[in-house]
């Protein structure tokens, strides 16, 4: 096969391994700066919320429902109240008039149904793990002891647990709603005027083309940030101060004010060091509200810190979708349309952005391909399980998985190389900017270049040859090669786009840059980091903008009293939106300094140029002294001799609202060895070539890619939140919710191509979710590729050894045992006769 390599030379950088160049010279942006954050983190001088000890602080422990669905018929708190050290016990009845309802900021349709969402259940619980009471005590141990003495009587109700059955309303998760269907949302390219009619494309393909019909399951995952959630609320003084392990201090502050009827100005939220989030801390949680209520009730500072098992049970989950897909193509492999029908499990309640997660994927199923017809339809369904919400990628991994699996299936159907079929359909380099079938304008990209580079690093052709040898020799361990040529949309988001999608807030970000009299610079960002390295990257940006040393820039964030405005960190938006706001603020500072510089240099403002931190008069030549911005900072502080009308300060605020998303992309190639005897799959090699536009810090970028890869690989191979038939989460600890370890993973080969974004001045695109979005289909494609000679077309995730083994067994025996959930869960429509959606369902490929 051939992949066009046109334009490759211009965009391929050197191997993007850690740049060891001198840190003292050249522009900061692009340098592999070691992180400023690390010193405190590697020496244990950290500021986690749970570290806080305030005088008189009380501790909160929760009592949670063991039932998935039940009415609360009685609650006896006498023993708990009299337990040593217990100060108060709060039940739903106690707080029902003050706790409000937890917010959902994204009503995707006007008629969206949602139950009230209490922080403490009042008379009914809707999932196992829902809080029914809390005990406040003088020590954490006393609180836990007291919590165990709260005696609750329940009447168990039938629980809605299976997504497909729940969609059919067989059992109601919330009887008062009368249905489990929360909302139904459609995008149709013909109706939207952005493309053609997908039914026509499907009819045409049925007639004389190729139809690929599949059902894929996106299992339920748990974000599993390493720092368990923790909240401290101090009610003393004039305001409530909340420390929380949150990704979204600003959103949290507003929502607390709206939920608890307290003036926003009386609430200060601080996100100190936060130990990871991955979307899991993009939430306004019951426990934050509860800790607030406990502090208000007792008048004392209160702390709640969860255990890991509590976290797995009650922090929101992610994914959990069933996808029914129909891909239409011509016989020569040109894709003509795609229809997506989706069921999305909301769990028991709607969280902050729960309903919108599938919508974030709706615009990405077409991915890098330029087919003309597309329809997306999703039904959001309530079940009696932990609520779902954003998890790394939120909607986009699901979409990418579907299309990248389908492209492999199309190639297999046609007997062609999967990369070749992709190239036939993808947007060519010269076609950017490109308006997709969803109406989005892709800013830039070069799929040819990334793919060529990835193939080279991977040794694609050699591995294909080895695969052929193993197939021929009927090796017990088969080799499979998996491809994922992904794109995603970052930089959430243009506010008007969010508005058109009924999201409750905007997508801008805020920054301030302040020159201090000493010449140091303070940068305040609304983008609150939890591991992303903003302190380092923002310093690099500002150092270049203002021409000051990297070390002289201090980045402050995560405290609503310091960073008074912001929309926080999620959706790979920090750099492309928040970073751009920093650029704008720095530029404003320079412009603010210009009149003073002109005054000092006794020149006309228009004759000044600013470079490397110094204003000079244009054309003044060598030896002509300029004035540095740090000198000007001191002059504004003294304010002895300022131009008329100039404020005595050198600082500026800026708010950036992006005009478009950015669209990073990349080609990931994965080789998996599948032991056909045991079903065990082992990764042999993985190459990721990402194009995320311009890079501020390659070290940080690589780290983001590595981490994302393993999370995506973990979805393919290991992780799944499993409920038993009672609705108890049985993968409820790290014993059974299996995160991979060092010994389960490999070292990756990463590289980049660079197609600068046109959506922001930095030319950056966002990288936080890329690895996680790309890797899941790459791994599953590889496993299926290894097993395809056995007549296997799919393995349900996670591809556990047992599941792979059973798929192999079923493919050979034409039936037999199948795992629960390994079967398609849609009843309408039959799978294509030639290509059963699941080998385990139809078998008979032997």
């Amino acid at each position: 096969m051939s992949i066009s390599t046109e334009g490759v030379a211009e965009v391929v950088e050197e191997r993007a391994d850690v740049d060891r160049t001198d840190e003292s010279s050249g522009p900061e942006v692009g340098k592999a700066r070691r992180r400023k954050e690390d010193q405190r983190l590697i020496t244990g001088r950290t500021r986690w919320t749970d570290n806080l000890q305030l005088p008189g602080m009380l501790h909160v422990a929760t009592v949670r429902s063991p039932y998935a669905h039940a009415t609360i018929t009685g609650m006896d708190t006498t023993a708990a109240t009299s337990s040593p050290g217990v100060v108060a016990v709060l039940t739903g009845q106690d707080v029902k008039d003050s706790q409000g309802s937890l917010p959902c900021a994204w009503p995707i349709t006007e008629d969206q149904k949602a139950p009230p969402h209490p922080a403490i259940a009042v008379d009914r619980v809707a999932f196992s793990g829902e809080v029914v009471a809390v005990v406040v005590a003088r020590t954490a141990a006393a609180a836990r002891d007291g919590a165990e003495l709260v005696d609750v009587d329940y009447d168990e109700l039938p629980a809605a647990l299976d997504l497909r059955e729940s969609a059919a309303d067989t059992t109601l998760a919330h009887p008062d709603l009368g249905t489990n269907r929360s909302a139904h949302w459609v995008f149709d390219s013909a109706e939207a005027g952005t493309g053609e009619d997908v039914e026509a494309a499907i009819a045409q393909a049925r007639e004389d083309g190729v139809l690929i019909e599949r059902e894929y399951r996106q299992q339920r995952l748990i974000p599993s940030f390493m720092e368990p959630r923790s909240v401290v609320v101090d009610p003393t003084g004039e305001q409530f101060t909340m420390w929380s392990a949150t990704q979204v201090p600003h959103i949290l502050r507003l929502m607390l004010a709206l939920t608890l009827d307290v003036p926003e100005s009386k609430v200060r939220v601080i996100a100190p060091d936060v130990g990871g989030g991955f979307g899991g801390k993009l939430q306004v949680t019951p426990e934050e509200v509860i800790t607030f209520l406990a502090a208000r009730h007792t008048g004392k500072p209160c702390k709640w810190t969860e255990t890991r098992s509590e976290s797995l049970l009650s922090a929101h989950h992610g994914r959990d979708q069933w996808q029914k897909l129909t891909l239409a193509a011509t016989k020569d492999g040109t894709v003509t349309g795609l229809k997506v029908e989706l069921l999305a499990d909301m769990g028991a309640y709607l969280g902050l952005v729960t309903p919108g997660v599938p919508i974030l994927g709706a615009f990405m199923f077409n991915a890098i391909y330029k087919f003309p017809a597309y329809r997306f339809e999703c039904t959001n369904v309530f079940t009696n399980k932990t609520w779902t919400d954003a998890y790394r990628g939120a909607g986009r991994p699901e979409a990418t998985f579907a299309i990248e699996r389908l492209m492999d299936e199309l190639a297999a159907e046609l007997g062609r190389d999967p990369l070749e079929v992709r190239e036939q359909n993808w947007i060519r380099h010269e076609e950017f900017p490109f308006t997709s079938v969803c109406g989005l304008e892709y800013d830039s990209g070069n799929y040819e270049a990334a793919t060529a580079r990835a193939k080279e690093l991977f040794g694609y052709d050699e591995l294909r040859a080895e695969q052929a040898r193993r197939r021929e020799s009927n090796d017990r361990v088969q080799l499979g090669l998996g491809v994922s040529t992904f794109t995603e949309m970052c930089g959430l988001a243009p506010s008007r786009v969010l508005g058109s999608l009924s999201y409750g807030a905007g997508g801008w970000e805020h920054a301030s840059v302040r020159m201090l009299p000493s010449g140091k610079v303070e940068v305040i960002t609304g983008s609150s980091a939890h591991g992303q390295g903003h302190e380092t990257a923002w310093s690099q940006i500002v150092a270049d903008q203002l021409g000051v040393p990297f070390e002289d820039v201090e980045v402050l964030h995560g405290d609503t009293q310091i960073s008074h405005k912001g929309l926080d960190t999620y959706g790979s938006r920090s750099l492309v939106v928040g970073g751009q706001a920093v650029v704008k603020a720095a530029q404003k500072v320079i412009e603010k300094a210009r009149p003073l510089a002109a005054h000092v240099l006794e020149a006309n403002m228009d004759d000044l140029e600013f470079s490397s931190g110094t204003f000079t008069v244009k054309g003044a030549g060598e030896g002509q002294e300029g004035v540095s911005i740090t000198e000007l900072a001191l002059k504004t502080f003294a304010a002895h001799d300022l131009p008329d009308g100039m404020e005595p300060s050198l600082d500026a605020d800026a708010t950036f609202d992006p005009v478009n998303f950015s669209f990073p992309h990349g080609t990931h190639l994965c080789a998996m060895e599948v032991d056909t005897e045991t079903g065990e799959s082992r990764m042999r090699s993985y190459v990721a070539v990402d194009d995320i536009g311009n890079v501020v810090n390659p070290l940080i970028v690589e780290g983001q890619v590595h981490g994302g890869l393993v999370q995506g690989i973990a979805q393919a191979l290991w992780e799944e939140a499993v409920y038993d038939e009672q609705g108890t989460l049985v993968s409820g600890s790290f014993v059974d919710y299996t995160l991979p370890t060092t010994a389960d993973t490999i070292s990756f080969v990463t590289d980049r191509t660079v197609s600068p974004s046109t959506s922001n001045d930095l030319g950056a695109k966002g990288v936080g979710e890329a690895g996680c979005i790309a890797s899941t289909p790459a791994v599953v494609n590889a496993i299926v590729d290894a097993l395809r000679p056995l007549g296997i077309h799919d393995v349900t995730m996670p591809c556990t050894p047992e599941r792979v083994w059973r798929t192999i067994q079923d493919s050979g025996s034409g039936g037999g045992a199948t795992l629960p959930d390994a079967q398609p869960h849609f009843d309408e429509g039959a799978p294509n006769q030639d290509q059963p959606a699941d080998a385990g369902q139809e078998g008979g490929q032997a």
Binding site: P66, E148, D151, S309, D736
Partner: protein, 152 residues
Amino acid sequence: MQLEHSFVVPADPDTTWALLTDLKTVGGCFPGATVTEADAETFAGNVKVKLGPIAVTYEGTGRFVERDDEAHRAVIDGTGKGLRGLGNAGAQVTMQLVPDGPGTRVDVLTELNITGKPAQFGRGVMQSVSDKLLGQFVGCVENKLAAGDGTP
């Protein structure tokens, strides 16, 4: 989870039925169980499940939800509340007696639901634990019938 047991006792169905429907005797057969009160239709008590590292106590009640003295078929519902906030346990036990030569075959079908911590942290062990405990229960009943004690 569903657990099935079947055993044959050297007693006729009527004798066997009389013992099996004596809730005090039958309840006392559950490993670690103490029946604190019992009448013809209901019983109350506690069960201390002690197994290696695990020791959990459930307090609960049980009653006949179905009892057919003619057909020798009964359904007993039991629910227990775990102490120390351990979640709850519920069991629905269906007993069916069938003549088997001179003796009686007893088929016991148990639908056991364990919620909360033991299920959440189980590593799947609760299934094995339950199976074992029910096995002991059945063994005890079997012994009582074989020995002819406990017969009213």
